[in-house]
């Protein structure tokens, strides 16, 4: 099995390793070669753990030889560098954390994927302390969009999206507080899962905003995403928000798609100025309707308030986490995150308390909507990937900050902990951009994303709809043809 283009699926690797047609060591060596060739251009990896990976691959081969069944046998994967890796310092995209002690153990999600046969090959670039939607990082360099290196990957799980889109690895892990899995998934053209808040334990990952932080997998197909999610599940009491539930293993075949009721979010989620983003969602809805699925428009009246609440909660909780560092080492922060954390340190408690109360009311509104709909659809980002260094974008006739607003559509959803599969829609599916803004800032990357949203604990429904759209070739992820030459 050759993977010189990096487009072999992780599940094909696992099948070949299980059938002893390919060794895990060969799969990992091919992956490491591709990282060595492409990473200088893409800057997705901040560390490659070659010796560890080869040793682990050898152990997997021995396990396979001894007859063990491993669902991810020999699948190379990499993690956003806020996940602890034993004997490595957890950077969380920062300069400040370079002085921290090394991690005593792997993050729980790494342990679970390796227990299923996966092989960790390295740590991935990210926005500083995860407070970022762009993929830019002053300390470790911008992560570059494999579809066009001049453009943003989206963030903060920037390396997680870029490593997949460039075919360096078939599986990555990211974190999502306000959209940090979904935004890079959309802009790099990959799949990403932000699970229900409290589903996957965050044990051994560097926090950002406790009441909004999630961890989740990213991949180039629905099947790979589901396979990773299945082995990542399970209660862990170390994470105080992890809910004690049995794993709900995804089995999309067991759900009859024709019984589903799909709501297409309007209002806040369908501004006319982002017609390309809304067209992506309309095309997905039309395709589902053609399959016999019931589709209707709907609204979440408190979405804007939910987004605003998430902004305030993030700003205040994040600033609280980093308060001492802001006092002592302000100049060692990226200026964009530093200024936001300083501002967050100053905000009134009354604003935070009110935001949490609004969040509760908004969650109740969403719960009511899920009595009428099983799955909701919404755009993932307002525009395609902006140019690196671009500071503003047009919204509502005004120039607004790119860093804060790429998450315009994702932030209201994570605010109330709903599970989301973000699925990529490539340019050929949604045609030529219509707006001057889209042409000027976004035409050079091909992907956007659709958020497939379900009620808490119903990730299976997100996966079912994602499968329907993928089977119909409405959504798809491809490996970008990254040149190793200038």
């Amino acid at each position: 099995m050759s993977d010189s283009d990096g487009d072999t699926s992780g599940l094909d690797i696992a099948s070949a390793v299980a059938a002893k047609q390919l060794s895990a060591q060969e799969a990992v060596a091919t992956c490491l070669d591709r990282i060595e060739a492409l990473n200088p251009r893409v800057n997705a990896f901040t560390a490659v753990h070659k010796d560890r990976a080869l040793a682990r691959a050898q152990a997997v081969d021995q396990q396979v030889q001894s007859g063990q069944q491993l669902p991810l046998a020999g699948v190379p994967f990499a993690v956003k560098n806020l996940f602890d890796i034993e004997d490595q310092t957890t950077l969380a995209g920062s300069k400040i954390n370079q002085q921290n002690a090394v991690a005593a153990a792997d993050a729980l999600m790494i342990q679970r994927i390796e227990a299923a046969g996966g092989v960790l090959v390295g740590a991935l670039n990210m926005g500083e302390f995860a407070y970022d939607f762009t993929g830019e990082n002053q300390h470790y360099g911008d992560c570059r969009n494999p579809w066009n290196l001049a453009h943003m990957t989206g963030g903060s799980s920037s390396g997680s999206g870029a490593a997949l889109a460039s075919g360096m690895v078939p599986l990555t892990l990211g974190s999502d507080t306000n959209g940090s899995i979904r935004v890079p998934s959309a802009l790099c053209g990959t799949y990403g899962l932000k699970p229900t808040y409290g589903r996957l334990p965050r044990t051994g990952s560097y926090p950002f905003c406790d009441s909004l932080d999630h961890v989740g997998p990213m991949a180039r197909s629905v099947a790979e995403l589901a396979a990773a999610y299945n082995v990542m599940q399970g209660f862990d009491a170390t994470d105080h928000v992890c809910v004690s539930r049995q794993p709900d293993l995804v089995d999309v075949q067991s759900i009859d798609g024709k019984t589903l009721r799909i709501g297409v979010l309007q209002g806040y989620f369908a501004p006319q100025e982002f017609d390309e983003a809304t067209q992506v969602v309309a095309d997905c809805a039309k395709a589902l309707e053609a399959m016999g699925v019931a589709v209707d428009d709907c609204e979440l009246d408190l979405a804007e308030a939910g987004r605003s609440a998430a902004f305030l909660i993030t700003n205040i909780e994040g600033a609280s986490l980093h308060y001492e560092k802001i006092l002592q080492r302000a100049d060692d922060f990226d200026p964009d995150t530093r200024d936001r954390f300083i501002a967050g340190s100053l905000l009134p408690a009354a604003w935070y308390a009110r935001a949490q109360r609004v969040r509760r009311q908004y969650a109740e509104e969403a719960a009511e909507l899920f009595r009428r709909f099983d799955v909701l659809l919404a755009p993932a980002t307002p525009i395609r990937a902006p140019l690196r260094g671009q500071k503003t974008m047009l919204m509502g006739g005004s120039e607004v900050n790119v860093r804060a607003n790429l998450g315009y559509f994702t932030q209201p959803i994570s605010c109330i902990g709903l599970p989301v599969v973000c699925a990529p829609v490539m340019q050929s599916q949604f045609g030529t951009p219509q707006t001057a803004q889209a042409v000027s800032v976004s035409a050079a990357t091909p992907s956007m994303g659709v958020q497939i949203i379900a009620a808490p604990w119903r990730e299976d429904l997100c996966f079912k709809v994602a499968s329907l759209l993928a089977d119909a070739s409405i959504t798809r992820s491809e490996v970008a043809p990254v040149s190793t030459q200038d």
Binding site: T196, Y197, G198, D210, S211, L212, V241, V243, L302, A305, R307, S308, A309, F311, L312, N315, Y323, I326, L327, A330, P335, D336, R338, D339, R340, I342, A343, G344, S345, L346, L347, W351, A353, R354, A355, Q356, R357, V358, R359, R360, Q361, A363, E364, A366, A367, F370, R371, R372, F373, D374, N401, A404, I416, G417, L418, A454, A455, P456, W457, R458
Partner: protein, 83 residues
């Protein structure tokens, strides 16, 4: 705290990022370095805009619980759906 008057702006409307920063920051994080001021002010202005949206929501009378740690609503739509 003055008695309210319908003709006066609310305290939230009167919020001025620069005045607020210059008053509060020295007591919380210290006066921001001149190089930080513009960025901090921009972020305070954005937060103020967000706060106005949040405070515009009319809360239900029974929503006075403080959601310090958010927990998802445990609805199961396939079991609780309307017919």
């Amino acid at each position: 705290m003055p008695k309210s008057s319908a003709n006066e702006p609310t305290a939230l409307e009167a919020f001025d990022p620069q005045t607020y920063m210059d008053t509060v920051a020295p007591m919380i994080v210290g006066a921001p370095h001149p190089a930080y001021r513009e960025g901090v002010l921009a972020n305070l202005a954005t937060a103020h805009a967000m706060a106005k949206v949040v405070f515009a929501v009319e809360l239900d009378a029974d929503s006075c619980d403080f959601a310090g740690v958010f927990m998802p609503m445990a609805a199961d739509p396939l079991k609780s759906r309307d017919t």
